[in-house]
């Protein structure tokens, strides 16, 4: 009888103590700073700007430094890149007539940006790609035929130099990442 009563009182006390402690935990959460990020309109900085440098968002092409080598088109596993590059017989220059990327098909694998010799084709941190029609998701980068970029030993055109610098930095990031992985594998 005594043990039964003992157990009874202990049950009541345990329940009260558990509720008391639980309420203290939730009350401490009540005054904590909410961790919600109120995307898209109530953030301190654009969310795109907070993403890491190598974030694989929507593809972008810097035509100024595109050599028309078609490496990206060949690398693309789902053929969402279509390039039409022909040599102009009169000027002996590679002419880019068409450079289309179908963002609707793209799976953001990043295989196209790896073989690019100048870092012309690259991912941006932009990810808001929603649109009302499939057609408008086809990005046409060549508005009118332009000459492809010809690599020089030292780039001296002040307009192109910063773009090339950015492109090479993008490629270096891949190389660095590769080195890290190799180092990890060795260690």
């Amino acid at each position: 009888m005594a043990t039964v009563l003992n157990q009874y009182v202990r049950n009541v006390f345990d329940t009260a103590a558990a509720v008391f402690e639980g309420m203290a935990v939730t009350c401490s959460h009540f005054v904590r700073t909410p961790s919600t990020i109120q995307y898209p309109d109530r953030t301190d900085v654009r969310v795109q700007d907070t993403l890491p440098y190598r974030y694989r968002g929507i593809l972008e092409v810097d035509l100024e430094i595109c050599t028309g080598c078609l490496a990206c088109e060949r690398a693309c596993p789902i053929d969402c890149i279509v390039i039409d590059a022909k040599k102009d017989k009169a000027t002996k220059q590679m002419m880019l007539n068409r450079f289309d990327i179908d963002i609707a098909k793209c799976m953001y694998c990043g295989l196209c940006s790896e073989p690019c010799p100048t870092g012309s084709i690259h991912h941006t941190p932009e990810f808001e790609g929603a649109d009302y029609s499939l057609e408008s998701m086809l990005r046409r980068f060549v508005k009118e035929p332009v000459a492809a970029y010809k690599p020089k030993k030292v780039e001296d055109d002040p307009k192109i130099a910063p773009i090339l610098e950015r492109g090479m930095k993008y490629l270096d990031e891949f190389a660095a990442a590769g080195d890290e992985i190799e180092a990890e594998a060795e260690a």
Partner: protein, 399 residues
């Protein structure tokens, strides 16, 4: 109160030559409309908004903050949306009962406001069996819930309705017994008289009257939570098992009525507790404010609503803390724990009143100290959890 007011209006010739009963009827309808549209609907609506914000903060979110400044109009948007929705009545349902059920529930809830004392003058009717009237009217809700569960012709609804009936009928007993401990002290059932026997000083509140009423407060709180179908006793509408319980088949305006009752009930529960145990509308005599009758009543009403709203937030907070209990645990809690404890409370208070008919001040002071000590220890534990987590603190409710 209302009757005297209408009598004075008749004497002023406002109703012309209308028969007295018709004048009373018009007066009652006007008062009812005023209470429902001026207070009940708004309180229930604003409670839904506050509840969502309180939960959100407890769960490290911010909650609705887009409709109107800080999202304060969210409840209006939700209500209007539900009003404009098409109402679907299941083909196999008992259409008449199905349509009737929400109104039975709503009547059971809204009529409780008749004897709700907001201030020393602001009460529709100070019935001499006030608290008994309120408990019996709120029990009418169970009839509506049973009818809703049955008429929906849906297994989930039926199980929800039966669970609600079993739960509310069971918990009525400890609730009533704990309420009677207060009646033993006051010797009256009238809501106003119960409050008048307390004062604004905490040790004159009935919660601190003696150790038995102190426990009785918590028993009443738990039992009323169960009667209001609130977590951890929300078995009748357990989302994870019964979809939405007895409201599964309801939509549109009729669903809105169930919604209204569920959230409005929070306020009724808190108001009953505040009246019985926490001193009701009692305020200290502040010379400038309480000199005029209007100022006094305004302060009293603000005190009452403020205290009640603290209870509402407490209930929300419990919902954010505790998981739902099982059916057998629900019955165990009621019959094996709350019922014997409330019987012991009843006997204990009866003895106490026999020995000290006018209360025993040292015990009251001791109980008050114990109560505030518990609150102090509670905040010590909160501070401990905050320190241990090392989390950032934001006290502003804005987002």
């Amino acid at each position: 109160m209302l009757q005297e007011f209408i009598d004075s209006l008749i004497a002023d010739g406002l109703f012309g030559g209308l028969p007295r009963d018709v004048a009373y009827l018009i007066g009652m309808l006007a008062a009812g409309a005023l209470v429902v549209f001026g207070f009940v609907l708004n309180v229930a609506g604003i409670t839904t908004f506050v509840e969502r914000r309180v939960w959100a903060r407890i769960q490290s979110r911010v909650g609705p903050n887009r409709v109107g400044p800080q999202g304060v109009l969210q409840w209006l948007a939700d209500g209007l949306k539900l009003l404009m929705k098409e109402e679907a009545i299941p083909f196999a349902a008992d259409a008449r009962l199905f349509k009737l059920a929400p109104f039975i529930v709503t009547i059971g809830f809204i009529t409780a406001f008749v004897a709700m004392p907001f201030s020393s003058a602001l009460i529709v009717a100070d019935l001499n069996l006030g608290i008994l009237y309120i408990t019996s009217m709120t029990s009418l809700v169970v009839v509506g819930i049973m009818v809703a569960g049955w008429a929906s012709n849906n297994k989930w609804s039926l199980i929800g309705g039966i669970r609600a009936a079993a739960q509310i009928v069971s918990y009525e007993i400890p609730a009533a017994l704990s309420i009677f401990t207060v009646i033993l002290i006051t010797g009256t059932l009238s809501m106003q008289s119960i409050i008048q026997q307390q004062s604004w000083l905490p040790w004159d509140w009935f919660i601190f009257h003696n150790p038995f009423t102190f426990i009785g407060f918590f028993v009443t709180f738990v039992a009323l939570l169960a009667e209001g179908n609130r977590t951890p006793f929300d078995l009748p509408e357990a989302e994870s098992e019964l979809v939405a319980g007895f409201v599964t088949e309801y939509s549109g305006a009729r669903y809105l009525f169930f919604f209204l009752v569920e959230w409005g009930n929070l306020y009724v529960i808190s108001a009953i507790l505040v009246t019985l145990f926490l001193g009701g509308w009692q305020v200290p005599m502040i010379p400038v404010i309480t000199d005029s009758a209007f100022g006094l009543n305004l302060l009293q009403a603000l005190t009452f609503v403020g205290k009640s709203y603290f209870g509402v937030i407490l209930i929300m907070w419990i919902r954010a803390t505790l998981p739902r209990i099982r059916v057998d645990q629900l019955m165990t809690t009621c019959w094996k724990y709350l019922l014997p404890i409330s019987f012991a409370n009843f006997m204990g208070t009866a003895l106490w009143v026999l020995i000290w008919p006018d209360g025993f001040l040292p015990a009251e002071l001791l109980m008050t100290a114990l109560g505030f000590g518990l609150v102090g220890y509670f905040f010590y534990r909160v501070a401990y959890h905050l320190r241990r987590s090392g989390a950032q603190i934001t006290l502003s409710p804005l987002s």
